[in-house]
Amino acid sequence: MKEIISYTLYLADTNLILSQRNGEWCGHGPILEQDIAMTNITLDLLGQARNFYQYAATLIGNGATEDSLAYLRTEREFKNCLLAEQPNGDWGQTILRQFFISQYQFLLYNSLINCKDEQLSAIAEKGLKEVTYHLRWSSEWVIRLGDGTEESHRRMTNALEALWTYTGEFFIPAAYEQFLIDNGTIPSQDELKLTYQENINSILKRANLNPPSGSFMQKGGKTGIHTEHLGPLLAELQYMQRTYPGAEW
């Protein structure tokens, strides 16, 4: 039970934190149409986070709600992958971060549809249509910017340099995740990992970008060991609930 709760929170937190980051673009995007597209994705991720939180809340019981889970846990309790909490950087870095996570979510949700937990399967199925769009949109932008002007290529190279080290964590299972894999609740990730790498490499190639050599991969987010970026993000996210405990909004 506690494993499935942790895993559901991992999925919820990753969506919420990425959505919080993407939301920083709202009103500041480079092109009005893309500002709208980015907000669409932000809303989708927030919606998926809410679905996962609501499910986790029913498993936890004891008066837990989507809001208590989002607003009243600390850094050490958040389980999102490190990539989601990384700063937006420029538009290129935001796009690239979205692309990596969407590619992962696309494969993951596809596999979760067949998992033994009916709720997770239903939420994944609902999210898949959205994620399919996120993946298409972000892939197109990665290609456009990577293979665009000299400046856009340089910026995408820098973004890749900054983010690459956080892209291995998806496939390093946390103990709770391994437990669920071993008891057959969720499918093994090994096959996903291969497809993921193939898909990423094929898009990066079309974008004229080379993955950095030296492939040390950071991890820790899934077990609450985060980068220093998460604290300030949570301080902002949780400000109201922390300042006015117990109020209804």
């Binding site: 995007g29 809303l43 456009r144 002007t149 006015y244």
Partner: protein, 307 residues
């Protein structure tokens, strides 16, 4: 050969309530007046995203966050329709946006006020979108076809925003003492600037007469402002809050609410650029534009070789 009196034909069309379309002949003044008004409206939608965007990261619940994100996104959509309507008058989106950044074009002064508490988000929905609707409902019947049609779509969403804003304040008004105080404080700060949204008094308004004759505008600033006061003075009773105006009183004879005098000195100062956030708003817009230049450049379709 007798040339038709184009100007008269044009005015006859307006008087007969026939919409003016992009390809129709129109006086240069009519075109300019529409460009000025539609672009100002478009800029207001876009700049208006900033004060509300200030609270997306801090919305107090996931549900409120989703509502706010969707609302701000709607405003971006409104900006988009309006820039397109402007383009039908022969001015590109880029030119229009440059005029905002250079300070040549204006946007609604209301967005030069800061959002200081969560209650401001509710107050903006209720009062600012509420005031905007008064104007926009009138504009669904404006004489320039593309503008009128854009307004029909926009109005539906704006009235939704107003209801959501009101509902969010209603929750605060029934909440803790702190929430009630927050709600009243937001109303105190947004009420007068909202009244200013209707522009100067009719006797002071330079663009009004011609705009009325061309049916770009169909109601005067003062008429619309009165309509707004009458609506809000009733709605606030449901909130159990008060409007910060000791002179607000039902006038049985006029069948309207009387209300106090707007601080016109403040109004003109904000128009001139001296509002609390004028500088920050323009800077934020310019920054987004400049930071995005490399993205727009990379997204341009490649020019075919040999041309």
């Amino acid at each position: 050969m007798i040339l038709p009196d184009m100007e008269k034909l044009f005015q006859d069309k307006i008087d007969a309530e026939i919409k003016i379309e992009p390809k129709d002949w129109m006086p240069e003044g009519y075109r300019k007046n529409n460009i000025r008004q539609i672009s100002q409206h478009a800029h207001s939608e876009i700049v208006g995203m900033l004060p509300e965007g200030n609270w997306i990261g801090r919305a107090p619940s996931l549900k409120r966050k989703a509502i706010l994100l969707a609302k701000v996104q709607d405003e971006a959509g409104h900006g988009l329709y309006l820039y397109s309507a402007c383009e039908t008058l022969g001015i590109s989106r880029e030119e229009t946006i440059n005029d905002l950044h250079s300070g040549k074009a204006k946007y609604s002064s209301i967005f030069n006020y800061p959002t200081l508490s969560w209650a401001d988000i509710g107050a903006i929905g209720w009062l600012v979108d509420g005031a905007a609707i008064m104007n926009q409902v009138m504009l669904t019947r404006t004489s320039y076809g593309p503008y009128a049609r854009a307004m029909v779509r926009i109005c539906k969403e704006e009235s939704f925003h107003q209801r959501q804003g009101f509902e969010s304040l209603l929750v605060l008004s029934k909440g803790t003492e702190e929430q009630k105080a927050m709600c009243q404080d937001a109303i105190n700060r947004w009420w007068w600037p909202a009244l200013m949204m209707f522009g100067p008094r009719d006797s002071e308004s330079s663009n009004s007469d011609q705009s009325m004759k061309w049916k770009i505008k169909r109601k005067s600033n003062d008429e619309l402002r009165q309509q707004f006061v009458d609506m809000i003075a009733e709605q606030i009773k449901v909130l159990g809050m008060r409007l910060p105006d000791d002179n607000l009183k039902w006038n049985e004879e006029r069948k309207h609410y009387d209300f106090g005098e707007i601080d016109w000195k403040e109004f003109w100062e904000v128009v001139k650029g001296n509002g609390p956030c004028n500088k920050q708003r323009l800077e934020a817009r310019r920054k987004a534009w400049e930071d995005g230049a490399w993205v727009r450049e990379a997204a341009k379709p490649p020019t075919p070789k040999g041309e």
